[in-house]
Subunit: 473 residues, 2 copies
Amino acid sequence: MTPDQFRALGYKLIDWIADYRETVEERRVMSNEAPGAVRAKLPPSPPEEPESFDAILADFERIVVPGVTHWNHPRFFAYFPSNTTLSAVLGDLLASGLGAQCMSWQTSPAGTELEEVVMDWLRQMLGLPDLFRGAIQDTSSGATLVAMLCARERSTKDARLAGGLQSCPAPLVVYVSDQAHSSVDKAIALAGIGRDQVRTIETDERYAIRVDRLRARLEEDVRAGNKPCAIVATIGTTATTAVDPLEPLRELAQRYGAWLHVDAAMAGIAMIAPECRAHWSGIEGVDSITVDPHKWLGTGMHCTAYYVRDPAYLTRVMSTQPSYLRTAADDKVTNFRDWGIPLGRRFRALKLWCLLREQGTSGLLGRIRRDLANAQWLSAQVANEPGWEVVAPVLFQTVCVRHVPEGLRTDAEIDAHNQSWADRINEDGRAYLTSTVVNGRRIVRVSIGAEPTELEHVAQLWDSMRATVARRP
Amino acid sequence: MTPDQFRALGYKLIDWIADYRETVEERRVMSNEAPGAVRAKLPPSPPEEPESFDAILADFERIVVPGVTHWNHPRFFAYFPSNTTLSAVLGDLLASGLGAQCMSWQTSPAGTELEEVVMDWLRQMLGLPDLFRGAIQDTSSGATLVAMLCARERSTKDARLAGGLQSCPAPLVVYVSDQAHSSVDKAIALAGIGRDQVRTIETDERYAIRVDRLRARLEEDVRAGNKPCAIVATIGTTATTAVDPLEPLRELAQRYGAWLHVDAAMAGIAMIAPECRAHWSGIEGVDSITVDPHKWLGTGMHCTAYYVRDPAYLTRVMSTQPSYLRTAADDKVTNFRDWGIPLGRRFRALKLWCLLREQGTSGLLGRIRRDLANAQWLSAQVANEPGWEVVAPVLFQTVCVRHVPEGLRTDAEIDAHNQSWADRINEDGRAYLTSTVVNGRRIVRVSIGAEPTELEHVAQLWDSMRATVARRP
């Protein structure tokens, strides 16, 4: 493809995206393609000869787009917001166009230094003290794995240098709440720590970790000769956006020499609003934090912000110094290849830079407050409607609900009814929301915060919810 | 930003990229910004109010671009090719525009099924047997970590389910050649295996692993009560693109119950050319393979193809099944969230699909054969020039050279001279190449394969090399 062909096609794609974003509301939110339907429309073998990009674009519209669930749709209320704002689309386009590989400072100095600057801008926006340093990681799953690996190495006095984890006699134990994200369990397992070494601590009526139970388990483990390795706190759990209390966790982590990692993947972005920061009071005392600008903030995948208080320890665990990667500048610069698992690094800071500048702190704050207010509005509607319940405190932008109609008696019937009305809304295509199980009961989560979601869309969802339960299948 | 503003700005960016690619040859290859220079031009705090995108673009040109090293420059000969073809730029733009999050089949069926199809297309193009199944990972570093974690779990009979690695008495050992990439050592360490449990096996005069030495170490370890966990073979080592012999490694891996992982990150793409496939003869017997379409092929970061012969084992190690991720389709579909470390997944298959179709097998084959031929051409020039040496077999697109001028006696002097002429070419900006140490001696690598690199550019480099050593500083 010549640059001139690229120019003509590029305009066409820009138009397609502009039209798509302008009209996305007319589409159904969740794709209703059957399993295998997309695959069946694609040839089983690659083309021998070059094809025209127009043919590719036609197939994109005919085959791919019907198989897409629209995460940037104003009635996307499933999982969590995963916004890709148009300014971030442009920033990421520049990254592709340059095609720079930013593994080391020298392989593109601007790749490293812009990342240092925007990670620090974001730190300031979140109200984090300046003792934290940040690097972009692919996902919070990856960042949490990095945290668990560092915790393991600190607990074992750098066992990787000799003997490995097998040489450490005292079993390492990690403490999480029963509301922690599945990626935390996965990270612990991948770090080589057994499932029976994970202490799943009960939560209270607000789904926050019970500090008394945690303390008791820590004491019990130490008596038994186990070694507390890490405590993982969540600010904004997946199911109900509950908040673990950092102040007492920090005290316990310090007393027992455990790493304190904070998973604020979704809700961390709320800290742009100063009125939310009480939710992570004590954050200055933790070892590591993960927050995802690719969720609510809007950079698009992949852009996880991983902050640590001791970058020297992070790079000690993650660095390698082969001769083919050494550069003359190494003593004077940051080499982000040593801040995580991957060596190769796309120029991801560009999209975050474009987004933060194009929206400004005030613009982002306005959007976050809009979403927080919309969640409060929906919560009030649900609470005031007979038969409906808000089943968890609404601390951020997620409202967890349940409909308990007259006539249904058993828990199983009520669970099935709630799964059913959510499924019917999703299948109908008007909106998309997802359910989960909390305390053994099925609940439906309304996760507000897609960039185009205004109050009217939340109101439309609420109308759909009431209408759907009224016409039982 | 409204869709209409996006349209106007998008055109401008498309034009910028087209112009950039058209004129990149006029730029110096390696950025000559001093450490801290880019950072010094950026404000220390984020903007309070929204800024115009035109201001951002102006800063992009003024601050960012001078700090970029141009990986898509025709005289980029450093590290390895990391191409972002214009068709992949467009494919990735569509992925950003859609903003789909493809963690589960249901969260965008086309995201999963297009990935299944293009991973299979690429498998066919590489001549891999159809017993392999592939998934896109972020980098080969990440994929190699996944391989080591699976190897560890297989060797310990799924220790993560109880007791973890600490419960396994026999020390796990992993075998790599002394030419393996640093990411392999890193992956082993992150898997919890100590540095003293890594057996670094000597290589022969072609820098391939010595099978006799490997066999002896395996026997010795088993006698000592250690447990062979994995053997990592490289097809195309980083320093000299050497090739480990897979047939005997496969026999040893089978006999000792070790996982056999193949790192073909850079050179695997050469297998599009059938005449190269003898280099990985025996590939059908390995457990896992990593090949990077974001290097020589041209998808841009991040797009690593990770192939395994037993996807059920991979997903057993990587899967989590929390209630909030379960969908009704789970039994009938692939959920790529269970094929690697990250949960969230960008729609990366789109850029690979666009690239494979726009170029076709014949187009890609032509480009790869051009690069192989250019490497042979340079190798012949160097070999025929007095004072110059080709220091390793040229199996793919990398030519390792050394200049040994008359008058320099000691190894240290010759090493310094070779570092010096490479540095002077880089600083001058005409080309960019990197050095490494092999067998204790400094060599310079000429890695050919940037998409715009034609024979004339290789000839220009060769002219520069001779001219540079002729004017000693």
